[in-house]
Symmetry: C2
Subunit: 215 residues, 2 copies
């Protein structure tokens, strides 16, 4: 059975949980607590599985895969139905571009180790950290909203009327933005897509608060 090393609050792990559930793939959940014991991701045991000391890791047989987007594409290639990417090259580029607009432009600036660096090395206070956090979300969501609202390929979901890779990335990022009280009024299309996703079991069941390690 597939194994997913995850932390309930990691939005990168959340993306993969959604994909696994959209595909209907069973998996065992291996919790990696990013705060306990100085961060369990830094243990030598975990770094044998994932040298980057990041979650998620997907283990399939003898193979340990890192990087959430690479994992989701792997799942899509090895379990093609339901497809998480469209069939046409332009559509695929659009969906990957939207996913990367979250995964390369927003999330990397707001993940735990960056917030820790801001706090411990740059000595910034909570309010400056929160401003930083919201700044990158607002900038990124402004671009994504424009990409969504101006393109007829946008449907009930980011691309057409079935959920896919872009939605797997967008929903965890929205959850993070709510956690840090980021105003979302300027992003009606993003909020509409969130609403559509959250009616689906796959998205609802992948939510942080429902994971075995939630606290």
């Amino acid at each position: 059975m597939l194994q997913l090393y995850s932390y309930f609050r990691s939005s990168a792990a959340y993306r993969v949980r959604i994909a696994l559930k959209l595909k209907g793939l069973p998996y065992s959940y291996v919790p990696v607590h990013l705060l306990k014991d100085g961060g369990q991701q830094h243990s030598s045991e975990y770094q044998r599985v994932n040298p980057a000391a990041l979650v998620p890791t997907l283990v399939d047989g003898d193979h340990a895969l890192g990087q959430s987007l690479a994992i989701i594409e792997y799942l899509d290639e090895t379990h093609p139905e339901p497809a998480l990417l469209p069939r046409d090259a332009l559509g695929r580029a659009r969906v990957r571009g939207l996913a990367q607009s979250v995964a390369c432009e927003i999330h990397p600036l707001n993940n735990l180790r960056v917030l820790q660096y801001l706090e411990n090395d740059l000595k910034v206070d909570e309010s400056i950290k929160a401003t930083w956090y919201r700044h990158w979300i607002t900038l990124g969501f402004t671009a994504i909203e424009t990409l969504l609202v101006n393109n007829p390929a946008t449907g009930a979901f980011c691309h057409g009327n079935t959920p896919g890779l872009a939605d797997c990335c967008l929903i965890p990022q929205i959850a993070n933005s709510r956690r840090f009280n980021t105003p979302l009024d300027a992003f009606p299309t993003i909020r509409r897509i969130e609403e559509a996703c959250l009616t689906l079991d796959a998205f609802a069941k992948a939510a942080p608060q429902l994971q075995p390690d939630a606290c």
Copy 2:
């Protein structure tokens, strides 16, 4: 003909230039100066092409595509030879994971707008900014070196003996690290792959200093 909106020093644009040259695809180069005029990427004209105000953008006919990794996969799907991704799902996951180890873990923390935020909003001085820059490269390269050295799939290049998506990401990141005097002694495999890449015309000709807007 394909059009590439690029800035000579943008490492994300550099990735796409390498891919275009590996594929032997002609393209016209449209310079977007990220510093002149308060940043030409912020012009309303450019934001009609790329709402994220980021380079690169690839224009193919009526379609403008953002996000370098999505662009390279698009080129690989529309012009399959030479392939930039292996054929097997595990190999593809590995190559994408390596590419994302650069594109999601290192580069987003060190791109221009982040450095500008550190300087203008957090008021950090040059030396703290340089420490920040090198910190994320060193952390990321430490993980990538381990992923490369411990895996028999590594060849003359990141994956086997032909250059691909991971190399397209790694070489520009090494160029950036040299620009900021980041020690690379601890990364012999990364340096060996760089050497192999730079013997190839595609990598050599995509280098920042050879672009029409270099200064």
